[in-house]
């Protein structure tokens, strides 16, 4: 069922010289199980809680979700890998496990350096101006103040938030969701990451920005990083990634060249 993608053969065919492939992310039979609070349901009344304490049963409004079930793959330096799958198939969970933000219950995730996860919900300080958020975000990524000063104009320029007047000096709460997402992407993309994980971030921008950010993803890849991209927009995966992993219900369904995987995925999605 799983098509193992033999990148080495491909690489030797297309590249004139044999490059040493350096793995940056090694995922070994990773299982992620997390506990979900179902919130206040009928079983959370004080009487029910008391009964549970007396009868020593566990809380009913916590349910375990086995989101990733034994995924194994290796990502190499310079690759851009798309992650596709239906809603709730475990793509975002897998990314968070690679970023070290969710523990794996079984198996292991090995990474080079510290992967950075860039998601649409990566909130900055909404009461502060865009410019100050750029400074903060860059410092939070570990840049020195001098680097931050040099990079700030570039980041604002790249995000394009000043295209319609001086928005950089306005608080971020006045931004549209697309503008905020663009600024967040621009901040994260300003630094060279060994491994950059992008969760649907490109989908929010307008067409012009999407083009620029796809270009930026390619640059990041060339500067020796590995990029993972989760998106439901198959076109943006097709444009940026040459390798794609298809997850379905937490299981790795297919891993291979983007065109092949997307074709199989589309057939699967249409047949459903």
């Amino acid at each position: 069922m799983v098509d193992q993608y033999e990148t080495s053969n491909d690489a030797t065919l297309t590249l004139p010289r044999v490059q040493e492939r350096i793995p940056t992310v090694v995922v070994d039979d990773a299982h992620v199980i997390y506990r979900v609070h179902k919130g206040a349901t009928g079983g959370s009344s004080p009487v029910a809680a008391l009964r549970r304490i007396v009868t020593r049963t566990s809380e009913p409004n916590i349910r375990e979700v086995h989101a990733v079930k034994g995924v194994t793959f290796t990502a190499y330096r310079g690759e851009a890998i798309g992650l596709i799958g239906s809603n709730g198939s475990g793509k975002s969970t897998l990314l968070r496990a690679i970023a070290g933000l969710l523990p794996v219950n079984r198996g292991a995730v090995y990474t080079q350096g510290q992967p950075s996860l860039l998601g649409v919900n990566a909130a900055l300080l909404n009461d502060l101006s865009g410019e100050r958020n750029v400074t903060l975000g860059c410092l939070a990524m570990g840049m020195t103040p001098a680097e931050v000063q040099r990079q700030t104009p570039e980041i604002i320029e790249f995000s394009g938030i000043n295209e319609r007047g001086d928005f950089a000096s306005l608080p971020m709460r006045t931004y549209s969701s697309g503008m905020a997402a663009r600024l967040r992407f621009s901040i994260a993309a300003a630094k060279k990451h060994d491994v950059l994980l992008i969760d649907e971030a490109l989908a929010t921008g307008d067409k012009g920005f999407r083009k620029r950010s796809e270009q930026r993803v390619r640059e990041l890849r060339e500067s020796a990083g590995t990029v993972f991209l989760v998106s439901h927009q198959l076109s943006s995966i097709r444009d940026t990634c040459e390798r794609t992993i298809w997850l379905e219900s937490g299981v790795l369904r297919m891993d291979g060249a983007t065109d092949e995987v997307i074709r199989a995925y589309e057939a699967f999605a249409n047949g459903k």
Binding site: D28, V109, D127, L136, G142
Partner: protein
């Protein structure tokens, strides 16, 4: 791998061996204490900028803006003076206004640091889940923000003390080391409540009551001599070691000529103040560091 002519040296390795060969590390490995401290030092500019940003943001929706930094402690002092000074009429304490304000402003420094500390992690999950930085930056930034606030209210306090007729003496210099020790204590306390608040979100609801009880136990609103008069000897001894009472007494010794104090021996007061700063500062840091991998998960 079928292609033997271009044999991949990595074929035949298990995933774990492959990772070891290229020096990859487990993604959620906890940092050592030395490594953590070094990274924290690298992030000092982030702490300062973040603290400053928070200070600016906290008043950004108010029309009077930064002025509230001074107005808040002033209105607080006015309300307490109305009730404890005028309605309940304190006679035992000379210069009650200055006595009250000193206690109130010093206590408020720790109170707001602890209260904001409980949400330092749980209120910044977006930032934590998006970027990797030593999480101790967040509670430390809370402490720095509150320290900046304190500097504002200290100016008000010194003005009040002068206006109510206290002389300027060399004893005022005591305030500098006293406030610094309290800041270290606060940093530790903030890190402790930040870790606890990250796990138990109910802590935010409990904190106001804890802080109120602590305030009554620190002799902010009434004469500290009441502890000696009305409590059994052992309990009064215990109150003498209350860190907040100690920091408040140091400030009162510094600023006021003849305020009643519970700790009659000044060396003991300094020792307890120093001891609490070290225990809380170091203990809080270790406690917070041990939980580093848990923040932002769930």
């Amino acid at each position: 791998m079928a292609n033997t002519a271009l044999a991949d040296p990595d074929s035949g390795l298990t995933q774990a061996q492959l990772a070891a060969r290229y020096g990859l590390r487990v993604a959620d490995r906890p940092p050592t204490l030395a490594e953590y401290s070094r990274r924290l030092w690298h992030y000092r500019h982030f702490i300062a900028t973040y603290a400053n940003a928070k200070l600016v943001a906290s008043f950004s929706n108010a029309r009077l803006g930064q002025l509230w930094q001074v107005l808040t402690p002033l209105t607080n002092a006015a309300v307490y003076y109305l009730i404890f000074g005028l309605v309940l009429e304190q006679r035992s304490i000379p210069n009650f206004i200055a006595y009250l304000c000193t206690g109130l402003f010093i206590f408020n420094f720790t109170q707001t640091a602890a209260q904001n500390g409980t949400t330092a992690i749980s209120g910044n999950l977006g930032l934590i889940r998006a970027l990797h930085f030593p999480r101790a930056c967040l509670p430390l930034a809370v402490t720095v923000t509150q320290f900046q606030q304190l500097l504002g209210s200290l100016v008000v306090l010194l003005a009040i003390v002068l206006v109510t007729g206290e002389p300027i003496t060399f004893a005022w210099l005591i305030l500098v080391p006293a406030v610094l020790l309290q800041t270290v204590f606060n940093a530790g306390l903030t890190m402790v409540v930040a870790r606890m608040g990250a796990k138990v979100s109910d802590l935010r609801q409990v904190m106001p009551f804890v802080m109120r009880a602590w305030m009554y136990g620190s002799g902010v609103l009434y004469s500290v001599v009441l502890f000696e008069d009305n409590l059994p000897a052992w309990a009064s001894r215990l109150v003498e070691f209350n860190p907040m009472l100690v920091y408040i007494e140091l400030a009162r010794v510094a600023l006021l000529e003849d305020a009643p104090v519970l700790n009659s021996s000044l060396p003991q007061l300094w020792l307890v103040a120093l001891g609490w700063a070290i225990v809380m500062g170091v203990g809080g840091y270790l406690y917070f560091w041990r939980g580093e991998q848990e923040y932002g998960r769930g």
